[in-house]
Amino acid sequence: MLFSSVTFLYWFLPIVLALYFITPRPGGSLRWRNAILLIASLVFYAWGEPVYVLLMAAEAVSGWLGGLLIDRWRGRPGARAALVCSLAVGIGGLMFFKYADFFLANVNTLFGAGLSLLRLALPIGISFYTFQIMSYTIDLYRGRTAVQRSLAAFCTYVMLFPQLIAGPIVRYVDVEKELTGRRHTPLDFALGARRFIIGLSKKVLIANVLGELADLGKNSTENSLLFAWLYIVAYAFHIYFDFSGYSDMAIGLGRMFGFHFLENFNYPYIARSVTEFWRRWHISLSGWFRDYVYIPLGGNRVAPARHIFNILFVWFLTGFWHGAGWNFILWGLYFALLLLLEKYALHSLLARLPRPFAHAWVALCVLVSWAFFDAPNLAAALAVIGHMFGLGLDMVVGPESLYYLRSYAVPLLLACLGCTPLPARLWGGWAATRRKAALEACAVAVLLLLVTAYLVDGSFNPFIYFRF
């Protein structure tokens, strides 16, 4: 189920909120409320994946059992074996359902094996919930968290619908206490609702609109420089507002139910280096790879050659996590090279560069990366990059691109403004008064009605990160 759907907003959410908040808390226990959340999460997932819900449940039970065994055999070799088995189940499931056809196709290409592809549908959110389960078993093995003996509580963590299908990747240690002991306050609910509506508006009013422009640019027969840049810029805004909007919705919904998830985005497009960009973009994923892969490999406290290998390996995995395709792997390795370049060559230069030049460097690197990310294959990606730099074009500006530039000028300007902290700073700098509170409530109402109007009228509404 999509958050940005009539079914979620006006059927699922009001029913779940009503059931959740009328459910009593005998002796302060959240057991019954967690049961409501768990059932709601199962319905939420089964709505989009009526069969794969069993796979997710099986992986959750496997992670829970793995945790029990790690705890029981703590300090003995059995704990390591239990961890390895638990990780094997998670990674094995991911490999089978997400990557099997990629490997088979490459074996066929390399060896002419003629193996049949499995053509399995990708279970929604499998990359996210697999990583969440792995974070629990690894942290438990490392002694950084306590075992969760309640299957229901553990399943509530894994399947919690706000962050189930597109993150943020919430680590067990970050919500462990709130699973059984969270508080529900009117302030949390209000701020959660506000965050949810802001995320929903980013998704429906900006991401979807600029996604249309990106599609128009991608599919146009007008081979112009302007359309090449319109496409890549629109796609850059589309993916940012789409994914950060979804993270806002997840964080907001979580807060309405008393959970405090960590931030997943911090205005990545204002970064002054690619290194900084990745500290601001999909923070939960880069943090996961840093803590569970990069640092165990030695991080940067190793010889330069080993450090270069560590970076390349982690970014190979990051790219591969995003999709079973060479373009994603190249996308990851491209960032690895940029990070190495900045670390070993450009670091001091970027620090001295005037801001506009530093921003331009990041914008250029990131825009080129989206060409890899959105392309069906390497040739298409290189064609887009070539067009961006004037290769193989018929014209600089065409009538179609000019028309769409004019038509999408305001959404593009809003997106430019919205990806900086300026609106939040201006709003935050305004003293809290009754007038401000009233204006905020009105703005929230207007945004929610506008979003509803867009959804009811049936508009372009894909969600990029579902495929991961």
């Binding site: 189920m1 759907s5 009539v6 079914t7 907003l9 006006y10 059927w11 959410l13 009001p14 029913i15 909120l17 709505w47 989009g48 009526p50 069969v51 009117p186 302030l187 609910f189 209000a190 701020l191 609702a193 506000r194 509506i197 009013l205 609109v209 249309e212 007008e222 009538p399 179609e400 028309y403 769409y404 004019r406 038509s407 999408y408 000028a409 305001v410 959404p411 809003l414 809290a432 009754r434 509170a437 009233a438 905020e440 409530a441 009105c442 929230v444 109402a445 929610l448 009605l449 506008l450 509803t452 109007a453 867009y454 959804l455 009811v456 009228d457 049936g458 508009s459 372009f460």
Partner: protein, 363 residues
């Protein structure tokens, strides 16, 4: 009340309010503004649940049955054109010269497939005089250039793909922005003088004179789709003494021709006022002119644009037969139509059909 609670109240009022309204207000079966049936509650069964069909259909139903839907659609249109200053809403535009419309892209592959179908039909009509023309999308007459339809490209592709025995009649130069309804896809029958002149010059007839008869105001299909408050169009039909004596026979679903009027004035109050002209969607219609001073016959392979054009051609022919391949397969045509040797045959399609060839049942 604490100030942050205002947010909560607003949120619950809207989410909860629409939840209740959606339960209390019965959903209409059709959308009058969009001229389409609305989705109904999908069938709930184990099979539809497992396949996911129930869930995907439910989302369509939830959106279609939403309370105050027309108002919300207008709100979106106001946001698109007013707040975000966009010049079209998912391809639907409003232009000062031509009014509301939908941008129609040229699809050369589709044009070529239509040409193949026409060539196959023309191969069986060697005794006839063959003509082709296309009705351009009205966007080409817009005040501000709109991307999409390209009349020159359309002509270039068709001319290259169609047989040399078909004569091209240029209607692009014969039409102006004001010849189309401002809220609808179609051309205005009262303003087809240029089209009749162009056809007559090529096909060898002198257009007759007609008297206008106003039926009243109407909102075309794009008004509803755009959901903007637009000035209505007025519908005028062109009458003449010969037309009053003319007869129309419509092929029914039972395979039998039934008589009917050339202008169905009652249809003006129906879902699509353009159905006034030859009763809208019909597979095969034969128009007879008992007062004709000629025995010439005309066959038109056509879409809805010809519904309003054909009556104006009737004074120049003894019989006009209209074939709509969207509703009758060309392979069964011989059961109902005997093409008279020496007759005129006109292939006349609009941009919408030319770029969506799959709708034509020409095997």
């Amino acid at each position: 009340m604490r100030r942050e609670n205002w947010l909560t109240v607003v949120f619950i009022l809207i989410i909860g309010g629409f939840f209740l309204l959606n339960r209390l207000i019965p959903a209409p079966e059709i959308s009058a503004s969009e001229r389409r049936p609305l989705k109904t509650m999908p069938e709930l069964s184990v099979a539809t649940l497992i396949s996911g069909a129930f869930m995907s259909d439910f989302e369509d139903y939830a959106a279609d049955s939403f309370a105050l839907r027309d108002g919300l659609r207008s709100l979106r249109a106001a946001a698109v054109f007013g707040l975000f200053r966009q010049t079209d809403k998912s391809g639907l535009y409003y232009d000062r010269a031509v009014g509301a419309g939908k941008m129609e892209k040229v699809d050369p592959a589709s044009l070529n497939r239509v040409a193949e179908k026409i060539n196959r039909l023309a191969a069986g009509l060697t005794d006839c005089r063959l003509y082709y023309a296309f009705v351009p999308d009205k966007s080409i007459y817009a005040e501000r250039p709109l991307p999409g339809f390209d009349a020159a490209e359309t002509h270039r592709v068709l001319a290259a793909a169609l047989g040399a025995d078909l004569t091209y009649i240029d209607l692009v130069a014969a039409l102006r922005a004001e010849d189309f309804y401002r809220t609808d896809l179609h051309w205005d029958q009262a303003r087809l003088g240029g089209v009749l002149d162009a056809l007559g010059a090529s096909m060898g007839f002198t257009p007759a004179r007609f008297t206008p008869e106003s039926l009243g105001d109407f909102q075309g299909v794009y008004a509803g789709q755009l959901a903007l408050p637009l000035e209505p169009d007025s519908m005028t039909i062109m009458t003449a003494e010969e037309l009053e004596r003319g007869e129309a026979r419509y092929l029914g679903q039972d395979g039998v021709f039934q008589p009917g009027p050339l202008y169905d004035r009652d249809g003006f109050a129906g879902r699509d006022p353009y159905d006034v002209f030859l009763r809208g969607a019909q597979p095969l219609i034969v128009l007879e002119n008992p007062a004709a001073s000629t025995n010439k016959e005309l066959y038109i392979f056509r879409d809805s644009f010809s519904s309003s054009l054909a009556p104006l051609l009737l004074p120049s022919y003894a019989r006009v037969t209209l074939v709509d391949l969207r509703y009758i397969d060309s392979r069964v045509l011989a059961q109902y139509v005997d093409f008279a040797p020496g007759a005129d045959v006109l292939f006349l399609y609009s941009a919408q059909i030319l770029n969506n060839d799959t709708v034509l049942l020409a095997g």
